[in-house]
């Protein structure tokens, strides 16, 4: 589905990603873990096309297309979705209007007919039923005055409605209590199919108890320094990140 090769990226001239290699296939869940400042969120933002980052080297192929050559909206229309770590408030625009605009933009890009308000509400009801949520967030301005938990739920709600091929969840667990975490994780699991894939970016192992990864990668210093199965996450939980990052520094020093 997505193939990242030797990805380098800078922000304000400082190199943050220093050669990421990662391949995610349909049906898989990958977890990207790592200490603060390791480049996890940068990687997520670079893939979504945030203009603050400059890709200096490497390639990303997404469903056979050159992802790096696409505008952020084109990436979304092609089926890439980023659940933001810090969702942004849009004043004056209701969640319902925003979601319908996004939904229709993606349909249009796929050559499908746009839906009017009533038809969209039907689709929305279906999606809400899948994840078992109500529509209490729909008539409020996008993320404006939302609590931390509501903002994260709103990201997952968008994920449910927009049905991307690849969902990147950037620290979706941060700031959630255990009940909220369970609700969010439960929805993410219900949305998984053999045709889509999920990349979970997280600092903690907690979320991975609920969204079980097939692969765990540890990011440090802008590079993936170790990959393994879900037992790696448990090991990290127990031992912290230092043993990996230190080992990596040593390796780097002797090579």
């Amino acid at each position: 589905m997505i193939e990242i090769k030797n990805l380098h990226a800078t922000a304000d001239g400082a190199e943050i990603l220093r050669g990421i290699d990662l391949e995610v296939k349909a049906g898989q869940v990958h977890a990207i873990m790592g200490p603060n400042g390791s480049g996890k969120s940068t990687m997520a933002q670079v893939l979504a096309g945030h203009p603050a980052y400059e890709v200096t080297k490497g390639t990303v192929s997404f469903l056979g297309q050159d992802l790096l050559d696409m505008e952020p909206d084109e990436r979304a229309c092609a089926g890439l979705f980023l659940a933001f770590q810090y969702p942004v408030a849009i004043r004056g625009i209701t969640n319902a209007y925003f979601l319908r605009s996004a939904f229709n933009a993606i349909r249009k890009a796929r050559g499908q007919e746009e839906l009017d308000t009533l038809d969209f509400l039907e689709v929305l009801d279906e999606k809400l039923a899948v994840i078992g949520w109500d529509d209490s967030l729909m008539n409020r301005p996008v993320n404006d005055g939302f609590s931390g938990g509501e903002k994260k739920r709103n990201e997952i709600l968008q994920l449910a409605v927009l049905e991307p091929k690849l969902a990147i969840l950037d620290e979706t667990d941060s700031g959630l209590d255990i009940d909220a975490l369970r609700i969010v994780a439960d929805a993410v699991n219900k949305l998984r199919t053999p045709e889509n894939a999920t990349v979970v970016v997280t600092h903690y192992q907690r979320l991975l108890d609920y969204v079980k990864p097939d692969f765990v990668h540890v990011l440090a210093g802008g590079r993936i320094v170790r990959s393994g199965g879900k037992e790696l996450a448990l090991e990290l939980e127990e031992r912290g990140y230092d043993w990996i990052t230190e080992a990596t520094t040593e390796t780097a020093g002797t090579s």
Binding site: A48, G49, H50, P51, A52, E71, P72, D73, R75, A76, C77, F81, L82, F84, P87, V88, A89, I90, R91, G92, I93, F98, S101, A102, A105, I106, A109, P141, Q158, L162
Partner: protein
């Protein structure tokens, strides 16, 4: 200034015989105050960012009564089934364009000129009680020339269903004119009124609209006011709106200036009874060389009142906006809850906004907050919308409109809100607001 004294002399002798004897001295006091303080200058703190030199330097004649066709009126009104509509042209009521529908018993909607004669007991004590003009040469000048305008009276516990519309149009011939409009709105205890005032101009000759509206909201009364300014690109608009609220009353003023070369609106809101609720909700949309200035004072004179003030501005070209929001909490006005925000969206590098909150708090158990922002569209918000599939141009348009919708959505009257939404959307799409 001499010019205005001479105009006042002529004005007072013309048609003064039709006026009640108490009105002459009111006008004379207005003129006296004007000659004492004159037009404001930028040395005056309240006018620091707004020079009225172009008004002072223009030789305005007093606008003469004239008519407009119904088609022109239609562009500026909201509801064909309004409870009442009064159309003023050059300050004088034009009965052909005006109508009074089925109003409940005791409700009065008439010209001010008629009211000073027929209902002096309702008018005399209130004229100048909400806008004194003491600190503002334009308002005192308005008092010096008080004649044209609208009087609305709602007796106790009467609910006016439907909208009362006031349209004040100025139509200059070939020389610049000034028109004075004075509206007096009295809503007695327990009564309810929805009112829309629209100010607009016709033609391409410069003119000046000098308006004063005074609104009295009785105990437990509810008044919802809309004020839409759509003057032409050659028009000047100088206005004062004063309100005095009684106990447990609810008052909202929605101000939407879209036109004029220069517009200045002074809002004075006095919360004079416990438990009052007041809202000032404003949206300005300016482009080109337009200049807009809001000078608001919310005066919490009594305890347990709540006020909310929201002004959003969208500025393009080299437009300039000034916002000065003063909140006064008088001694003893405990449990006051007041919130003020002023957000300015600058769509061009040459647009400019100055925002100044001023809190004067003389009580110790109060909650007052204020905040102001100015800047271009937020890049992170833009990215967020794009990351959901919305292209950059649509995202920009959506965010800009959202800035306006945030204010429009606080408007309770759907007819007015929907029409304003169309005006704002058209204005943003064509780059300038369509004025006519």
């Amino acid at each position: 200034m001499k010019r205005y004294v001479e105009q006042h002399r002529q004005f007072s002798s013309n048609g003064a015989s039709q006026d009640p004897p108490w009105l002459g001295p009111v006008r004379d006091r207005g003129l006296k105050r004007f000659t004492d303080i004159g037009f404001p200058t930028t040395r005056n703190e309240d006018w620091r960012f707004t020079s009225v030199k172009s008004i002072v330097d223009t030789k305005f004649e007093i606008a003469k009564p004239t008519t407009v066709d119904e088609e022109t009126v239609t562009k500026f009104v909201y509801d064909a089934d309004a409870a009442a509509r009064v159309v003023l042209v050059n300050g004088s009521m034009v009965s052909e364009n005006s109508f009074v529908g089925k109003l409940p018993a005791g409700v009065i909607v008439s010209s001010l000129q008629e009211a000073v004669n027929k209902h002096p007991e309702l008018v005399e004590a209130r004229l100048g009680a909400a806008v004194s003009g003491e600190d503002n040469g334009f308002a005192s000048l308005n008092t010096a020339f008080v004649r044209g305008g609208v009087f609305v009276y709602v007796p106790p516990n009467v609910i006016v269903n439907g909208l009362v519309e006031i349209l004040s149009l100025i139509k200059p011939t070939d020389t610049p004119v000034v028109a004075y409009t004075r509206n007096l709105i009295v809503v007695e205890r327990g009564a309810q009124l929805r009112l829309v005032e629209t100010y607009a101009g016709v033609g391409a000759t410069p003119y000046c609209a000098n308006t004063v509206t005074e609104i009295f909201v009785g105990d437990g009364a509810t008044v919802d006011c809309y004020r839409v300014q759509r003057e032409t690109a050659d028009g000047f608009h100088v206005a004062s709106t004063g309100s005095v609220q009684g106990r447990d009353s609810t008052y909202a003023m929605h101000a939407v200036p879209l036109g004029a070369r220069l517009s200045r609106h002074d809002v004075r809101m006095v919360m004079d009874g416990e438990g009052g609720q007041g809202t000032l909700n404003g949206l300005y949309l300016m482009g080109g060389n337009q200049h807009v200035d809001h000078n608001t004072i919310i005066d919490h004179a009594k305890p347990h009142c709540e006020s909310h003030e929201y002004f959003n501005g969208i500025l393009d070209g080299s437009a300039r906006a000034v916002f000065n929001g003063r909140i006064i909490v008088r001694p003893g006005a405990q449990k006051t809850n007041s919130k003020q925000t002023n957000n300015n969206l600058l769509l061009s590098g040459d647009a400019r906004a100055d925002s100044q909150p001023q809190l004067e708090i003389y009580a110790d158990d109060v909650r007052c907050t204020h905040g102001a922002t100015l800047g271009p569209l937020d890049e992170n918000s833009l990215f967020y919308l794009q990351a959901r599939g919305i292209d950059a141009e649509s995202a920009r348009r959506m965010m800009t409109m959202g800035f306006g919708l945030e204010v429009l959505e606080r408007m309770g009257d759907a007819t007015v809100r929907e029409k304003l939404e169309v005006l704002v959307r058209d204005g943003l799409e064509t780059g300038t607001v369509k004025l006519a």
